[in-house]
């Protein structure tokens, strides 16, 4: 290719007469581009520019990528690095760092070039990058096009069968719309969030034994993803009546983040809860855990308007809902039943919102674990002379269990009833994992509260309890090699709900985490600063953990 060819001739578009821009004096930079750019905007410039973007900047198809790989080297030194730029007037690529493109611009009087890495337009007369609205528009469109192509393209290779290049949708920074600009102008009050700012903290008045509800509200309003969802107005209500719990939650977030320091009176929330979860109505003390599950259930049902449309299909399957509640709280629990005779495994996966853990001292036998022995230092929990840890409880939860001769399962392989073992493991972890320590025993024999101290960590790694880690567990090894690069199963504690008192009369309080390392105790209307030690020394009834790293789907 001769470097004097025009872009059109190279790519077989209709040939036009060559045009050169008039030399202008240095102009003042403005967001509307420079005057030299206007010299370029003649004839079929838009199409030319698009071709350049498609072929050399953001190559969306395999063909354009191949061409880019071959041709994008400096015409003077052959390097592919050094911030390569392409001349806008002819087919010439040159290094920016080594000033090869500058030489070309001077010699040929071609004053505009495009940065092949980021698509910016450089004007050699103005000696800076210029921002022309029309050109930026074209750049944006071409980038989006190329991304879309790459996301859906499949790539055949020797080692894998057809596999998508899957980068997903391109991230673009937020730019306010006209309406948003208007709103910002009419609401000039700004609030700066500093490290000791108490925004988001608010007490809740007890309306008569409603502390069970208050502590859950505190936990939910401090769930980062949930907070972000509601504060960005993502709920689109489709309910005709005024009884949408999601709308009420939205209001609650507004109240919590309003900056008001007086306690909030959640009478509307209480009323809606009584309406939608009859079993929780009444003035007696209820169970906070039951309230949590009921609240999540109602929120999930009322979220119908927000389900994400996947390729135009609406997710109306209750088991595969994509509402915010499911996205945050739903995990998958795998249950493997192994026949003791033929060793055939029958697997089911059930969704869960919480994990209920048995405690030592209950009527169901707790697996005796030697404190300080085999891998009990996983998650860095303290083992104060024989105390149980959360990890112990999780290990017990995920251990293989003999179902006994009185509970034979019909085996598909043996075609008869056989003894079997059952094991639970985590198939899919939710973004927020809620652990429920079963402190309230309601068996036929007795009703009591188990006050055994269970220590729980600030940071939790769920890897040992995953279905994928099951093989090593069967060999009795609990020490998992920590994969530095795999952060998928790491969690951080962000809320703790505690119960003081007895089964008959008790009081719920909660600890919640603010600004990464600050903790506060929420006792109905009273909010006080707490230390990490206060939190970790507390009895613990409901423990809320949040994934440390979020991956894109």
């Amino acid at each position: 290719m001769k470097s004097d060819e025009t872009i059109q001739e190279t790519f077989s578009l209709s040939p036009k007469k060559k045009k050169y821009p008039k030399l202008n004096v240095l102009s003042v930079m403005s967001p509307a581009g420079c005057s030299h750019v206007n010299g370029y905007k003649v004839d079929n410039w838009k199409q030319n520019l698009r071709v350049i973007y498609q072929c050399f900047v953001w190559s969306g198809t395999a063909e354009t990528r191949r061409r880019k790989a071959k041709s994008c080297i400096c015409h003077m030194c052959g390097a592919h690095l050094n911030r390569l730029h392409s001349c806008l007037y002819c087919v010439f690529f040159g290094c920016f760092t080594k000033k090869h493109i500058h030489e070309h611009a001077k010699n040929k009087r071609h004053n505009l070039a495009i940065d092949l890495l980021y698509g910016g337009i450089y004007c050699f007369v103005c000696q800076d990058y210029v921002y022309d609205k029309d050109m930026e528009q074209i750049a944006k469109e071409e980038q989006r096009k190329a991304w879309k192509l790459q996301a859906f393209e499949t790539r055949p290779s020797r080692l894998y069968s057809l596999e998508s290049t899957g980068i997903g949708e391109k991230y673009t920074t937020w730019e306010p719309t006209k309406r948003e600009l208007e709103l910002l102008r009419h609401n000039p009050k700004r609030r700066k969030i500093t490290t000791n700012c108490t925004i988001g903290l608010r007490g809740l008045i007890n309306l008569g034994n409603t502390c069970f509800m208050n502590c859950i509200v505190q936990a939910l309003t401090h769930t980062p993803l949930l907070r972000d969802f509601f504060l960005s107005d993502r709920h689109k209500c489709e309910m005709q009546s005024n009884s949408c719990l999601v709308c009420e939650m939205s209001q609650l977030f507004q109240e919590f983040y309003s900056g008001h320091r007086s306690p909030h009176i959640p009478f509307r929330l209480l009323h809606l809860v009584w309406t939608h979860a009859r079993h929780l109505a009444g003035y007696e003390q209820q169970d906070a855990h039951e309230f949590l599950i009921a609240a999540l259930d109602v929120l999930h049902r009322h979220c119908k308007g927000d389900t994400i449309h996947d390729n135009g299909k609406k997710a109306n399957n209750p088991n595969h809902c994509n509402c915010i509640i499911d996205q945050i709280f739903t995990g998958g629990l795998q249950s493997d039943v192994t026949c003791q005779v033929c060793h055939g495994v029958s697997t089911t996966i059930d969704p869960f919102w919480d994990i209920s853990l048995d405690l030592p001292g209950s009527s169901t036998p707790f697996w005796p674990l030697s404190p300080g022995g085999d891998g009990s230092t996983v998650n860095g929990e303290s083992h104060l002379s024989g105390s149980t840890t959360l990890t112990d409880c999780l290990r017990r939860f995920t251990r293989p269990e003999h179902l006994g001769s009185s509970a034979k399962i019909k085996c598909g392989g043996c075609h008869s009833y056989q003894e079997s073992t059952k094991q639970l493991t985590m198939k899919k972890l939710p973004i927020v994992a809620c652990f429920h320590l079963k402190r309230f025993e309601h068996s036929a024999k007795l009703r009591r509260k188990i006050t055994t101290y269970v220590s729980f960590p600030l940071e939790l790694d769920m890897t040992p309890f995953m279905a994928s880690s099951k093989e090593s567990r069967m060999n009795g090894q609990y020490q998992q090699t920590v994969d530095v690069l795999n952060n998928d199963n790491k969690y951080s504690l962000f809320a703790v709900v505690n119960h003081q008192g007895t089964l008959e009369s008790g009081h719920y309080t909660s600890f919640i985490r603010q600004h990464k390392d600050q903790w506060f105790k929420c006792d109905d209307a009273i909010i006080t600063k707490a230390s990490i030690k206060d939190v970790l020394d507390s009895e613990g009834y409901l423990l809320f953990y949040h994934k440390q790293f979020l991956e894109y789907e």
Binding site: G78, D128, Q150, I167
Partner: protein, 96 residues
């Protein structure tokens, strides 16, 4: 071109052809945002602009001032992860 730069050019071509370069760029971008690098550099850019004056600063000024700091601030874990990915890619395309 030396053998070293020939090899680099060949690897670069393969990376572009397969689309892996774009994927790696996106992975790097995400990691650098995650670890706060982007915010650090952004703050530094703002300082440079304040120093030079908004009317007079050019992109070139920013690139010159910010590049060395940017390179130094990339965390080792990010470098490690990218290297890991590139090695895996090279192993897969062993015919290079």
């Amino acid at each position: 071109m030396s053998k070293d730069s020939q090899m680099r050019a060949a690897i670069n071509q393969k990376l572009i052809e397969t689309g892996e370069r774009e994927r790696l760029k996106e992975l790097l971008r995400a990691k650098l945002v995650e670890c706060g690098w982007k915010d650090q550099l952004k703050a530094h850019c703002k300082d440079v602009i304040k120093e030079k004056g908004l009317e007079h600063v050019t992109v070139e000024d920013l690139v010159t001032e910010v590049t060395p700091k940017g390179r130094a601030l990339v965390p080792d874990s990010v470098k490690k992860e990218l290297l890991h990915r590139i090695r895996a890619f090279l192993a897969q395309h062993a015919t290079l």
